[in-house]
Amino acid sequence: MLSWEFPPKTIGGISPHLFNLSRELVKLGVDTHIVTCDFPGAPEREVVNGAHVLRVDSYKTPSPDFATWDSLMNVNMQKETASLITSLSRQVDIIHAHDWLVANAALGLKHVFRIPLAATIHSTEVGRRNGLHTDYERMIHQTENWLAHESWRVICCSHYMSGQVRWAYGLPQDRVTTIPNGVDVSVYEKEFDRAEFRKRFAFPEEKIVLFVGRLVYEKGVQTLMSAVPKILSRVNAKFVVVGDGGMRDSLMRQVGNMRLAHRIMFTGFLDEDSLRKLYQVADVCVVPSLYEPFGITALEAMAAKTPLVASNTGGLSEIVEHDNTGTKVFPGNADSVAWGVTRVLLDPGYANWIKLNAYQKALQVYDWAKIAKQTKEFYEQILKEYDGGSWKPT
């Protein structure tokens, strides 16, 4: 597997995705090698949960911009991976690329070794930017398009993303497979003093309404802020906003103008351990996103048994079933968000019902072991087609 990030280097969601997926693939007997960028303090070679990790020089000479750096990094990644595959006596069945950032390296290796290429497209440039506005964005879009078409098959993490990939790159339906992201429920099972921890965020009589995400427009945090007075008119609550981003100052002005600053706590980035505990002491978790390819926050809330209120949009609308595994609200609609949150907070029976159903779903559908099994089957399907074809070298 090729990825520009793997722990300890964690920029986005690909790093934890690979960490969990590789661990479970190894358990299924898949000999997994990960080639990724180097990171200060991390060894060049190590074995992580049975997976072999190789960190390559990620090109530190100055480069004009991120995409040019990425092209140069791919030169190093490709040549080191070529040496790795040679050292494994070419006994590599699949090259699996994660997002466009490793497209160049993966594409060349596919042809040179004639090993089938698989790709997971975690998100698309046209989705991230809500359109393509510059040559820089168009170049990345075309690179994604190239990767998608050169791949034997493509994995997307939700039906919504699969649809977007088919639409954006004109990829036939049978070349796209939906395998969800996973969540590890065991990390939410550690015992701790809940009442003591809760005091850091709210008074005992206050309900905790939790938001986790980057403070950017598409995450819809501004919708939640507009819903705050409506919710407070019916429930005594504290709003805890975890994460940082460009909208932080304007959000703080917004709550200041409402004279509600004492009701809303901006924590900024929170360490992993505190965040996991916070999910468990929160009374409701709100995901008010306007755009969401998958919605990993929703999954974390489900695994932590936190009742969930989520926008009916993108990948979120697949994870959350209304009145079963959560409460769905209209994206960008503060009245709807207020309605959803008060409903969960005022009806403990209902809250209990949705959170337990959600937890069961996290166990059954979003279990990394199951996801690894589906991924292995995906590999086996490719290999079956590859073995029967004429492209395989003799």
């Binding site: 480069s63 490709q78 060349g108 042809h111 040179v112 004639r114 170049m139 075309q142 690179t143």
Partner: protein
């Protein structure tokens, strides 16, 4: 002997004089019974073509457009160069002796092919970035220098056209004397000199 030449310019795509030089080189090698393929770039005339002179040329095209600068463009083209070179390799029952890479553009492809398929390459240097962008500290220029430097260190040998260039490589890239061969295109024995260099460098790579 089977040789694949990488060049970013080849007639009818002419940028400088390198296109004509490579054309002449390929034609003369064929007369010496070398099986020659040229892999080059041409975005309007693409695919395989064998001319009256017997040169078999594969012209690759852009898979990603637009591009934001010369580096992102060239580095994405390298994947297509690798595809075509690998196709030649597999269709010729893995009998491909040597790559001859002209200037820095397709060095990354040659390095990967060397490591993956054990095909050695010679780096034929027509011009170098320190001459093209004198004293430039610009990131693009230094990145191109790093590609040239990669080529110097990974090549089985470096071919230059003059004693002067040999000294320049030594000054800018610290390239050792025993790695660099001087074969003047003006010399009577030019093509024999090239062939002798190929042979010698194949032996170096094999040892």
């Amino acid at each position: 002997m089977r040789v694949v030449i990488f060049t970013w310019e080849f007639p009818p795509r002419v940028v400088g004089q390198l296109a004509f030089y490579v054309n002449r080189l390929a034609a003369e090698l064929i007369k010496k019974n070398v099986d020659v393929y040229v892999v080059t770039y041409n975005n309007s005339w693409t695919g395989f073509h064998q001319g009256a002179d017997g040169i078999k040329a594969y012209r690759i095209s852009d898979k990603v457009q637009p591009q934001i600068n010369v580096l992102t463009w060239i580095l994405s083209l390298n994947q297509e160069v690798e595809r075509v070179a690998a196709d030649i390799y597999y269709s010729m029952k893995r009998e491909l002796n040597l790559l001859d890479v002209h200037d820095w553009h397709f060095i990354p492809a040659a390095v990967t092919l060397k490591r993956a398929l054990k095909i050695p390459f010679v780096f034929s240097v027509d011009s170098i970035e320190p001459h093209r962008s004198r004293n430039s500290g610009a990131p693009l220029s230094s990145s191109i220098r790093s590609m040239e430097s990669l080529g110097m260190s990974e090549a089985a040998g470096v071919l230059v056209k003059s004693e002067w260039m040999k000294q320049e490589l030594k000054a800018y890239y610290n390239t050792s004397d025993n790695k660099v061969e001087v074969v003047s295109p003006d010399a009577e024995s030019w093509i024999d000199g090239i062939l002798a260099t190929y042979q010698k460098r194949l032996e170096v790579a094999a040892s």
